[in-house]
């Protein structure tokens, strides 16, 4: 039952179908005929690590003040710095472990690091509170009351992974029909990108109707 509920939440809270986060990355990867599975795995990894590091900074370094107005305007700096460090470390490790083969995977890391799917996960995980409220740690954390209470490394990692897996699910759904959307039978005006948008919109509509039922 828990597995079904987890799968259901992957669809109903899917980054692409419900929030459009990472759509540009997904369509760009589809155009380039990139390995969507590889990219989704890297996005999942970077999202999970970023959430864990951000969680550490909020809980251990007491940065929760940044979730309050007007300091939350500085959140892009904090999150970009976190993703930058992880990005550099991954590239370094890739070079060390894979050697010459690293070049093949580097493009996926470049495309996966600074995009809406990864950065959006961070913004979703730690919801800024309203200006009138004092920042209380449990209230600032998105997962509170859902899976874990307050800040938790496991909770943050799971949240990042969940969004990455959601991206993977959307990638699989798109790669299943990718060839058809670029097929010559599709009218020229709709071939490729417009067809991807309409296809994504139809799946999004199906999820929307399930959620609002």
């Amino acid at each position: 039952m828990q597995l079904i509920s987890a799968l259901f939440s992957l669809l109903t809270e899917n980054l692409i179908f419900t929030k459009a986060l990472g759509t540009s990355t997904l369509t760009a990867a589809t155009k380039r005929n990139s390995n969507l599975l590889m990219m989704s795995l890297i996005i999942s990894g970077i999202s999970a690590l970023s959430c864990m590091v951000a969680n550490f900074m909020y809980s251990q370094l007491h940065l929760t003040g940044m979730l309050k107005q007007p300091y939350k305007l500085g959140l892009p700096i904090l999150y970009t710095a976190i993703v930058s460090v992880i990005y550099i470390i991954i590239l370094f490790l890739l070079q060390k472990i894979c050697g010459e083969k690293a070049e093949k995977y580097k493009n996926y890391v470049h495309l996966s690091a600074f995009n809406c799917a990864v950065m959006g996960t961070l913004y979703l995980a730690f919801t800024p509170v309203y200006i009138s409220q004092d920042v209380e740690i449990p209230k600032a954390f998105y997962l509170q009351g859902e899976l874990y209470s307050g800040f938790s490394t496991t909770g943050a990692m799971w949240f990042g992974l969940k969004n990455g897996i959601g991206f993977l699910l959307a990638s699989l759904m798109l790669s299943a029909v990718r060839e058809r959307l670029y097929d010559e039978e599709v009218p020229e005006a709709f071939r490729g990108f417009p067809a991807i948008m309409i296809y994504t919109g139809l799946i999004s509509l199906a999820i929307y109707s399930i959620v609002t039922m």
Binding site: A20, H110, A189, A195, M197
Partner: protein, 204 residues
């Protein structure tokens, strides 16, 4: 036939959203009304123009990874005053706009123009042409955002900038992300039809 380069391409023919599929998320989720679209356009213009211009001074000798980090960090730093300006201009609306100002506007600091297109396109242009080409690309994004925002506001609420418009039926669901995806897909197809016809005419 090869299309002749024009500095105004980014506005219509080479529109970043309709032609290249860039910066989709804010348009699909945030541009549900014309007012939202104007705020997104302002934030996008301020962040993108300033960041791409500042980053053009960075050395081209840096490794690709380091350049990406510098571009993203510059975007993040620039987004602070840019979003502050947006908030000052319309503080009541900005604070009540929910996820749009909490998630989607800050995300503009790492939009495709900054982290992908700047390096692969803008910085390869001649120094004097680049700012104008960038400006037209930004205007192209703003025009698309406003068009999507206006159409969705009319269809979902029967208003435009809050003023009632006489239409026989309203479809509230079109303001949901699915409405944005489908409308964007239809606009892309329309854009292709218009510009492929124009190309054919110019060939003839």
């Amino acid at each position: 036939m090869q299309h002749k380069f024009s500095i105004t391409d980014g506005l219509l023919k080479g529109n970043a959203v309709l032609e290249k599929g860039m910066v989709i998320a804010p348009i699909v989720v945030c541009c549900t009304t014309l007012q939202n679209a104007l705020l997104v356009s302002l934030a996008f213009a301020l962040i993108t123009i300033a960041t791409v211009w500042i980053c053009s001074f960075y050395s081209g000798n840096m490794s690709y990874a380091l350049r990406m980090v510098c571009y993203a960090m510059t975007g993040a730093v620039v987004s602070f005053p840019a979003l502050l300006i947006c908030r000052i201009i319309n503080s009541g609306f900005y604070d009540s706009a929910g996820s749009m100002t909490a998630i989607y506007l800050p995300l503009l600091s790492v939009n495709s123009f900054i982290v992908l297109y700047a390096d692969s396109y803008f910085y390869k242009l001649p120094e004097k042409t680049m700012p104008i080409v960038l400006l037209f690309h930004v205007l192209g994004f703003c025009a698309t955002a406003c068009m999507v925002g206006a159409i969705r506001e009319i269809l979902s609420m029967g208003t435009i900038m809050g003023n009632a418009v006489d239409i026989p039926i309203v479809m509230k669901g079109i303001s949901a992300p699915w409405g944005g995806f489908i409308l964007l897909g239809l606009l892309c197809a329309l854009h292709r039809v218009i510009f492929s016809k124009k190309d054919d005419d110019s060939c003839n």
